[in-house]
């Protein structure tokens, strides 16, 4: 199956039809998506700022992570679930949209950045966990995360204006 065929199949699913054709389906799912975005990106930003050594310097990096992640994780779950439903509803329009591609690339970058941080940078965290200013690699991870999530938001909003 090619990508356009997958997109057409997604648009034919019952959830996609419900979101597209009901009066309240689309607004409710978008509102949940925005709420999830505020919760996830709004909270993960504080971990990024801690990595940059800008905020919450009185707590260790691991403590900030432990306390922020349950909130951000809930937001990410809401955001990805509602985003998947919205994508299914308008898959063919999204597939051809340049901002959707930019958003996917930024999402991939954010994911890759998190993976690199947890797999490599965090390995020696015990040495700098309490430091007010973490090492360059950790600071870079925080900066990339902020830039990637800001790009996701910008591209996502541009997408909604140029897709329909």
């Amino acid at each position: 199956m090619s990508i356009p065929q997958i997109a057409e199949w997604l648009e034919g699913t019952s959830v996609a039809v419900l979101v597209r054709e009901s009066a309240w389906g689309f607004p409710i799912v978008v509102a949940i998506h925005i709420l999830g975005l505020t919760l996830s990106v709004g909270m993960v930003l504080w971990f990024d700022l801690r990595l940059l050594g800008v905020a919450l310097r009185g707590s260790s990096v691991s403590a900030v992570y432990r306390r922020i992640i349950p909130w951000a994780g809930t937001g990410f779950a809401l955001m990805f679930a509602s985003g998947a439903i919205l994508l299914a509803a308008y898959a063919t329009s999204a597939h051809g949209n340049v901002y959707f591609r930019a958003k996917v690339i930024a999402l991939f970058l954010a994911g890759l950045n998190a993976l690199v941080y947890h797999r490599f940078t965090e390995r020696h965290r015990s040495r700098w966990d309490e430091a007010a200013r973490p090492p360059a690699a950790a600071r870079m991870a925080g900066l990339i995360s902020i830039v990637a999530w800001a790009t996701v938001i910008l591209a996502g909003r541009m997408m909604s204006y140029t897709m329909f």
Partner: protein, 252 residues
Amino acid sequence: MGRVIRLGTSPSGPRPRIGVAGVAAVALAIYWILLGGTEAGHVLAPFRALNAALGGILIWFWIRRMPSERDRIDEIALVGLCAFLVAAALSQFPRASLDAAVSAMAWVEGSGVAIAIRESLLLTAALSAFHLIGATLVGGGALLGGLRIGGVLFPDQAMADVVRPAGRAILLGLSISIVTGALLFSPRASMAVANGFFQLKMGLLVAAAACHAILHSRRWHSEDQASGFLGLARSMLYIAVILAGSAYILLE
């Protein structure tokens, strides 16, 4: 009731704790802001008298609770409350102010900036994107600060170390949102002011800002139950602003 933590620089004597009266005053202020300037106050005449009476009660509370070393926020708030009391008592305020606002909106819609935004989809989309970034900053800051004041998040860390950066994030986010929001508002000002969701969004925003101002005035900055309630209420109000904004755009 926990211990009182001061964030202010003044080392002077003890400050009053927030009691039931303080929470009642805030609740009255929120009610007043939400209902005082809306059509409900015009259609239902008793609301005007009720609002005026509530205004009097608020001022009485404020004067009674004002410490000898009052700060600038207290003074500004008192002047504002007096102005609202006079306006509410002079019957035509809600309707007349709304009519004047509608006339002003027509002028705003005809401005060069409004026309440029109306005619450019990409400009509108870009402004909307930055508006959402501002809203995310506000939401994140309000959640972090509110959860800390409520004792849910980082309870072992000094309140100032969490609440101060959260407050700065809220102010930065609000600055971005207000500038982009005003630009987005300009091409459709008259439609926006007549929209129920937009009115709700603005009312909630004023209530959230009032909570924010009270929390950040030094004598309210404590770890007691009322402050915790205010912190969480502020978070909920900012999230409600975001939801009302979504509803306004999506159901317009």
